[in-house]
């Protein structure tokens, strides 16, 4: 039997999905030929904004790689555009003159960015946001140019703008309407979105109609109807898309806005079908992927001889792919006289939820700030579920269903804990044979999760999966350590309520299982007590070696000494002193540290007090759960780019917060301009100077959990930097788990939450008040050791004894 010939024009997501469906139904039915204008295999266009935002690579967007086409015997012509269709004799002709005949023809030509018909739109530097090429242009231009303008404040425009900000450009977003994403969001949600995006660095030019793009060969500016102008080195047109239907139109196929199709995706011409963004179904052109996939299913059946299921249109839900923003919208956005709304607006947490009902059924959803309910509500919407039995209160409840468990599908020999090389099977067996119920116990028996701790959530899942119904939900609670059944929050609450003032008292009153605790709880309790009580007397023997010794133990038992060098600034005199000390004590290694200071390595413990005395400098705390360093760039004092005095700012921060006990180490950086030479983007607190102000980034980390900092806020003065930093650090001190870095903490409690807390003037003052009282209690530990004989005897003595023979 001769196979029928199927040609598809277009090699995008919707079209290739049809082919996949056809192959699933009957892999032997067709000889398939695909023409694609772009020089790529089928890729995930939706993810392009993630590529721009640096979250994924081009390679990761490929859905069907070259092999897939080969394996399925599909003839693929990329970089080749179909120019002509002869619907009478059933053949197509491509841009290279290739002529191919068909039995069935699918048009999946997608859409084109809508380029505003204004003078200058043809200039260099004016692009759409549609394909890999556009992305590449943006990435390339961002390296040469500074200022981008995105026209269009819809989904596409905002994602493009966010991407350009990520690429380091200054971005204006021009929007014709008074509200962003007005087709998906109501004014309340839209206003919240705008505020958030402004904080992420986007600048909005609202209610502006573009009339001209200025410049010579390349675009240099943009002019609006109201006479105002903006500079632009790059203009991205994201004001909408239009179906790419020219080929169909020229070939005599009926086109309205898009290529008009019926419920079986058939066009006006026999054996020609259209699907995706180029197709118009019941007067709607869909631009989102879910409906296109539904269309694909129907068309595949039609192509394989079945017309039992018609496509009757889709209801679509929208999400914005901008990091830090949770947003979902579906159905009707605006109230009318026949609909009623349930609205929850939690300004405190920046959450807004609106559900519109008509005849007891959900007809519209807008969620902003938290979208956990989106799947559940959207299903109720699409299934037209009668909600009269449900109380509107349930709206506030979290989704009860747990997500599908990945652990079940994990292979037995898959490594769970990379640090210790522990595989799933080992953990499962340990759980079963030793009756383990907590992550801590699993760590105790197998070592899994005892190093960097990143695999702990997976171990938790394995526990749940292995124990099944017998899994005790209370065991899920993260206790401080194996000595107690209490969590961090419970212990801190008890310290407050019962007025507990020492580690011994905490352990007695809270019924600790080991009289003197362990290496996990002792340092933690010592920290918590010091956090709660300003006048707490530190229990030195409950600190681990480095903090106890105020020096960093090395693998051979010697110690390193790193004096403060505020803001990384030193002097010839100090350098001479350091050199003399290095000579005198025969230091094994003198090294510049990552935190812009000098470390002396290989010192004997008994020499430490004398070394400190000779140095005459304060401890750099390079060993502590405290402020480590404030890295700075040279800044306005010398640098031609510097807009702010970053060194002074850094020195002031370091002097203010040095010695502060924190749940884990804290690193800061101050850069004088967005070139960010002090790497403020990967610091727990990173300050970036701008013309006339400072940006404060938080939660950055350059270590185990590499994480870019989030913009907390912009402030104008140095006093405000100190104020916000103080309040932020104190809030971290009061709410973080012990040994939880700010990067993990901010993920856990949420940036938005922290923003809300810090935006409150009264709360900020209270936090700074408690911070100031805490800072008042610290003494310089090296100086103390020099002055106090008992400390020297207890911690830094080596007893020389001789053998007595009896």
């Amino acid at each position: 039997m001769n196979k029928k010939k199927l040609i598809m024009v277009g090699n995008g997501m919707a079209g290739v999905r049809v082919i996949e469906e056809v192959l699933k139904l009957n892999p032997y039915f067709y000889d398939i030929t695909i023409f694609g204008s772009e020089p790529h295999p089928n890729y995930n266009r939706i993810k392009l904004s993630n590529v721009l935002q640096g979250e994924t690579s081009f390679e990761d967007t490929i859905i069907n790689n070259w092999n897939w086409y080969e394996e399925n015997n599909i003839e693929l012509f990329t970089g080749e555009t179909v120019k002509k269709i002869d619907t009478e004799n059933q053949f197509v002709v491509s841009s290279t003159g290739r002529k191919v005949t068909y039995d069935e023809l699918i048009l999946a030509t997608g859409s084109l960015p809508f380029i505003l018909p204004v003078p200058g739109a043809e200039k260099e530097g004016v692009i759409g946001f549609r394909d890999i090429k556009d992305c590449e242009t943006m990435i390339k231009d961002s390296k040469r140019y500074k200022k981008a303008v995105v026209i269009g404040g819809g989904l596409l425009g905002l994602e493009a703008a966010k991407g350009l900000i990520h690429l380091g450009m200054n971005v204006d977003v021009v929007h014709l309407m008074p509200h962003l994403m007005e087709r998906q969001l109501d004014p309340v949600a839209s206003t919240m979105l705008k505020k958030e995006l402004e904080e992420q660095g986007m600048n909005f030019l609202m209610e502006k109609a573009t009339v001209e793009l200025t410049g010579s060969e390349r675009v240099e500016g943009i002019r609006f109807k109201d006479g105002t102008e903006a500079e632009a080195d790059l203009v991205v047109m994201a004001a909408g898309i239009k179906p790419n239907a020219t080929l169909a139109q020229e070939s005599g196929i009926y086109v309205n806005r898009g290529i008009v199709v019926n419920d079986f995706m058939e066009t006006s011409i026999p054996n020609v079908y259209a699907i995706g963004e180029c197709a118009e179904h019941r007067e709607i052109v869909y631009g989102l992927v879910a409906p296109l996939y539904e269309q694909g299913k129907v068309l595949a059946q039609v192509l394989c001889g079945g017309k039992n299921k018609a496509y009757e249109g889709s209801i679509t839900g929208t999400q914005l792919k901008v990091s830090g923003i949770d947003l979902f919208s579906a159905g009707e956005i605006y109230e009318d006289s026949t609909s009623k709304s349930i609205i929850v607006h939690n300004e405190f947490e920046g959450v807004y939820k609106k559900v519109q009902l008509r005849d007891n059924r959900i007809v519209g959803i807008v969620l902003y700030g938290e979208t956990k309910d989106s799947n559940r509500l959207f299903r109720m919407l699409t299934e037209k579920q009668d909600v009269s039995d449900l109380t509107s209160i349930s709206f506030l409840q979290a989704v009860g269903q747990t997500e599908a468990n990945d652990v079940a599908s994990m292979a037995d020999d898959e490594i769970v804990c990379g640090c210790n090389g522990i595989v799933k099977e080992t953990i499962v067996k340990a759980i079963q044979s030793d009756g383990l119920t907590t992550v801590e116990q699993v760590g105790g028996c197998t070592n899994a999760g005892r190093s960097c701790g990143r695999c702990k959530p997976v171990i938790q899942d394995i526990l749940e999966y292995t124990l099944g119904d017998s899994f005790d939900q209370t065991a899920k609670k993260q206790t401080i350590c194996g000595c107690t059944t209490l969590s961090r929050d419970e212990v801190v609450a008890e310290i407050h309520e019962k007025g507990l003032t020492s580690i011994k008292e905490v352990m007695n009153v809270l019924e600790w299982q080991n009289d003197e605790g362990c290496s996990k709880c002792r340092p933690a309790l010592n920290y918590f007590l010091g956090m709660v009580h300003y006048d707490y007397v530190d229990e030195r023997n409950s600190r681990l070696v480095n903090e106890k010794m105020h020096a960093n133990i090395q693998k051979d038992g010697t110690y390193s000494v790193i004096p403060r060098m505020y803001g990384g600034v030193t002097s010839a005199k100090d350098l001479r002193t350091i050199a003399d000390v290095a000579d005198k004590y025969n230091v094994g290694l003198v090294k510049l540290t990552g935190g812009q200071r000098i470390g002396l390595y290989g010192l004997k413990k008994e020499d430490l007090p004398a070394v400190w005395e000779d140095l005459g400098m304060p401890s750099g705390y390079a060993y502590g759960k405290t402020l480590r360093t404030v890295k700075t760039c040279v800044g306005a004092a010398f640098c031609r780019f510097g807009t702010q005095d970053s060194m002074s700012m850094g020195i002031e921060l370091e002097k203010r917060f040095e010695r502060l006990d924190t749940p884990h180490k804290v690193k800061m950086g101050v850069s004088a301009c967005p070139r960010n030479c002090a790497e403020s983007g990967i610091k727990d607190v990173g300050i970036v100077g701008l013309d006339g102000g400072w940006e404060i980034y938080v939660g950055g980390n350059g270590g185990t959990d590499l994480r870019a900092g989030d913009l907390l806020c912009k402030v104008k003065t140095e006093e405000e930097v100190l104020e916000i930093t103080g309040a932020y650090l104190q809030y971290y001190r009061e709410t973080a788990l012990y040994l939880e870095r700010t990067s993990q903490w901010i993920e856990r409690i949420g940036l938005d939450h922290v923003k809300v807390v810090l935006a409150d003037r009264i709360k900020r003052d209270e936090l700074n008040g408690r911070m100031n009282q805490t800072l008042a209690r610290y003494e310089e530990p090296w100086q103390k050791a020099i002055e106090n004989e008992l400390i020297r005897d207890t911690y830094y003595t080596k007893h020389q004894v001789t053998i007595v023979t009896e």
């Binding site: 009289d515 003197e516 605790g517 362990c518 010794m549 911690y795 080596k798 020389q800 001789t802």
Partner: protein
């Protein structure tokens, strides 16, 4: 009574701090002495049995256990046995308190 004939004597043991190791040097050897909260005194070799080594005297003391300062192993100060899941044994020295003095048998 300790019967070996090689001993060291440490005077005024009651003045030693509780809950923190003290380092004793005898020639090339190092011994870590711990005065515990229950009044006992323990002496162990100042060398961790961990394959990567390390010294023990600055570890955290809890009851009759020591948490090694470098690898966080839990080690019994009574018999020197490293607690599960880790394995190993630290050399321990018999001790005896006579009056104000501590005798350690080598």
């Amino acid at each position: 009574m300790i019967t070996t004939n090689k001993q060291i004597k440490i005077k005024n043991i009651h003045e030693f701090p509780v809950g923190i190791g003290q380092l004793i040097q005898i020639g090339e050897e190092e011994i870590a002495i711990f005065r515990l909260s229950n009044g006992n005194v323990r002496a162990i070799d100042n060398k961790s049995p961990h394959p990567k080594g390390g010294k023990l005297s600055d570890g955290l003391v809890s009851g009759e256990f020591l948490f090694c300062p470098i690898h966080d192993w839990k080690i019994s100060l009574v018999d020197g046995v490293v607690q599960a899941p880790d394995q190993g044994k630290v050399k321990t020295y018999p001790v005896e308190i006579v009056g104000n003095d501590l005798f350690i048998a080598l």
